[in-house]
């Protein structure tokens, strides 16, 4: 029998997903520890979660520098000795300071687990924030901010968040060069004492040893008082179009979107699906129209983003400058179609299977499994979220999709940022 290459082979949808879950326990002082144990390779990630972040910093830049400085000197070691020790064992240190929380992660071979746990504890509890090292970090950040300001896409995202959440709200604020000179070591030490030490959590993933006694010794004895979390007033978003002209730019960076909600909102999962159809994957409507049919851009995408207290929805792209207006027109056209025409069954089937397959593909490493845990736990949700996601995915109808689109894709509510120019 001749092979019929025009016929797709038989296939089956992904209907259930078997996720390795985190197991949690607490140290005697109440510090929570979450373990995702998958031992295929002899590697492990030790992640320390800090509640110190943009949300609770006394002035712009403090949480960024305080977390960066954790590896720049302790009572026992200088910055150079810390770097030597980590590199010497072939481990990697990654510090990221966030808006709602921050994290310090060490990736290492399992055989170095215990020394790296001890080091992490030293970085947290014994950091001394040397002023000389701080000056180096301040200089590095000042210079990299200058480079960032030359990147249209970075500037567009920054303006977009400012318009959405207000320049003075932690969600709308970004660190600027002018914030840096006043950062000093006493300020960071004070912040360390009162905001970094309390309410820590640990997440271990990979080939985690069964003997975890070193955790109790390193993280289980200190206690700290919980600070009162600050309250931030979020002003109304600024809607409409905002253009920053850049004459020398050959492309425009566009950002369009509005405030939405957090993961806890009942419309979050349906809107993830609606957004996927619009601009969430390579076969999305925006990609098909603006890249694959018109060739205006190398890429366009949209996403639903959940922060802890609020969320937003955003479309982003870089397009040939002269096509800026046409691209905007096409984006609004696609939004209008989603609001007025039911999604064809075939397209919905593609999106369903694609999203289910992506979920399966996104749990392919122990570290990714830990991310899945963090993605629910820190939003006050649990693993049921992923089951809910799958069942919504298979139940949502074209009419539902139209209804959600009408509810959230309201042109008058949108903020539109263009960095580059209209022609």
């Amino acid at each position: 029998m001749a092979l019929d290459r025009s016929q797709a082979p038989l296939s089956a949808p992904v209907t259930s997903i078997d996720l390795v879950k985190a197991e949690s326990f607490i140290l005697t002082n109440g510090v929570p520890v979450h373990v995702v144990r998958v031992a295929h390779q002899p590697v492990v990630k030790i992640e320390l979660i800090l509640k110190a972040c943009k949300w609770n910093e006394p002035q712009n830049g403090v949480s960024y520098f305080a977390s960066k400085m954790l590896s720049e000197g302790t009572r026992k070691r200088t910055a150079a000795q810390i770097a030597d020790y980590i590199d010497g064992l072939g481990a990697f240190l990654d510090i990221s300071s966030g808006i709602d929380q921050s994290s310090v992660s060490i990736y290492c071979l399992t055989k170095h687990f215990h020394p790296m746990v001890e080091l992490l504890s030293e970085l947290l509890y014994d950091s001394v924030f040397p002023q000389a090292e701080l000056e180096i970090q301040k200089n590095i950040k000042t210079q990299s901010l200058k480079v960032d300001l030359e990147k249209n896409n970075v500037v567009a995202s920054k303006i977009f968040r400012e318009k959405l959440f207000g320049k003075n709200h932690p969600y709308g604020q970004t660190i600027a060069e002018k914030d840096i000179p006043s950062i000093n070591s006493p300020l960071l030490q004070y912040y360390h004492q009162f905001n970094m030490l309390p309410e820590i959590e640990l997440i271990l993933s990979g080939d985690v040893p069964s003997d975890l006694k070193s955790l109790q010794k390193c993280f289980g004895s200190k206690s700290s008082t919980r600070p009162t979390p600050p309250i931030h007033i979020m002003p109304d978003p600024q809607k409409g179009q905002f253009v920053e002209e850049r004459k020398e730019a050959v492309q425009s960076s566009l950002r369009i979107g509005c405030r939405m909600f957090t993961k806890r909102h009942p419309d979050y999962i349906p809107m993830m699906i609606v957004n996927e159809i619009l601009g969430g994957y390579f076969g999305s409507r925006l990609m098909k129209n603006i890249r694959e049919e018109k060739g205006f851009t190398y890429g366009i995408s949209s996403s639903v983003v959940s922060l802890k207290h609020q969320g937003y929805w955003i479309i982003g792209t870089d397009v040939k400058k002269e096509y800026t207006q046409q691209t905007l027109d096409e984006i609004y056209k696609e939004l209008h179609i989603l609001c007025t025409v039911p999604v064809p069954a075939d397209e919905l089937e593609t999106v369903r299977n694609y999203m289910a397959g992506s979920l399966l593909a996104s749990i392919n490493t122990p570290f990714a499994l830990a991310d899945k845990f963090k993605g629910v736990y820190f939003y006050g949700l649990n693993y049921k979220f992923y089951q809910d996601f799958l069942s919504t995915l298979y139940q949502i109808t074209p009419e539902d999709i139209m209804r959600y689109s009408q509810k959230y894709f309201v042109r008058e509510n949108l903020t539109e940022v263009i960095v580059g120019g209209m022609a």
């Binding site: 092979l3 290459r5 025009s6 797709a8 082979p9 038989l10 296939s11 089956a12 949808p13 295929h40 390779q41 590697v43 150079a80 770097a83 030597d84 980590i86 590199d87 010497g88 064992l89 072939g90 990697f92 290492c108 071979l109 180096i136 200089n139 590095i140 210079q143 990299s144 200058k146 480079v147 300001l149 030359e150 050959v250 492309q251 994957y281 390579f282 076969g283 890249r291 694959e292 049919e293 018109k294 060739g295 205006f296 851009t297 190398y298 890429g299 870089d318 397009v319 040939k320 089937e349 593609t350 999106v351 694609y354 397959g357 992506s358 399966l360 593909a361 392919n364 490493t365 122990p366």
Partner: protein
Amino acid sequence: MIQFEEFTLANGLQVFVHEDHSLPMAAVNLLYKVGSRDEREDKTGFAHLFEHLMFGGSKHIPSYDEPLQKVGGENNAFTSPDITNYYITLPSSNLETAFWLESDRMLSLNFDPEVLEVQRKVVIEEFKQRYLNQPYGDVWLKLRPHCYKVHPYRWATIGKDISHIEQATMEDVQSFFFTFYRPNNAILVVAGDVTLDQVKALSEKWFGPIEAGKAYKRNILQEPVQTEARLLEVEANVPLNAFYKAFHMPARGENAYYTADLLSDLLGRGKSSRLYDRLVKRDKVFNSISAFVTGSIDPGLLMINGNLNEGVDFAAAEKAVNEILEEVINQGIEEAELSKVKNQAEASLAFGEVELLNRAMNLAYAAFLGNPDLINQEADIIERITASEIQDMARKILVPSNCCTMYYHAKNK
């Protein structure tokens, strides 16, 4: 240890199977032995443009992406100077869809003129987005022709000039396809929740009927040994002065490659490296600095790249870097430093094996180098490198006559 089996179809397609049943997923990696080094000087950027065309529909299947998305799969591809690599991950129950799609576009593309027109525009926007509209985006467009005078590595994968992309014709597309996209010029790796028998049967069924192409004889002019130091100065609208040094070094397939790689690690990998510790931390000459290797199939480059602090001039920066290089050349390295870079390499290899797709890609690449077992031998090769071999390598390559330097000046605003 990555276990694998291999077989070759009658048409020359090499197939490798790596089983891992821990998740119901499969990774399919198809490497074509063609990159920008195989291009003609007046048609650069073609291998990469072609990669885009591979998604524009094949002989029996009008769209590549959609049927794959419909079975829960994801795909992408990249082009380098040496290879064009296509990869898919999908639920293992739908493995056959990957065979169906990949084999049809190996059989023949649809050669739709409209696809060419649109992808030409997309690639031009990619050129702008990545290389022109970014600070320092054009660095490699400048560095390549500075370092290579003869070898096709002298142009970037995106192409030397937008006009080459603008001028590509359908005739070029077809001849490129039938020269390079043949089963005997490709390596297929199937990894994950699959079995050898299953992959054998699917390979025979879908790829077996594709005719072999004429064997391609690569005839690339190799770069002559550089005999004089080179300096290039350019100016652009960037906030900081940037400094680049490129040293010619051994090819990816040679054992000496690993020695040069460790040398680059101890010079500029991480905060404890010599360049960072001394020039960022202690002397505050640079704002950032690192060293790495390009790892190409033909002899590559050991790169040093850093941004200067304000108020530091290029001559001072260059002197500071050279002092560190001379120390390695004259005094060699310490045992502790050697064991550090070996431990870093060991950990990198272990972390590189965590993801299934990475294992599939690494296996395909090792097979392309002519030794698939290399993926399991690299750790030993690295372990055996001695401090004196690294010093010898430094003596051999970190010398002015082997070096291309670039000063990338920030225009005064």
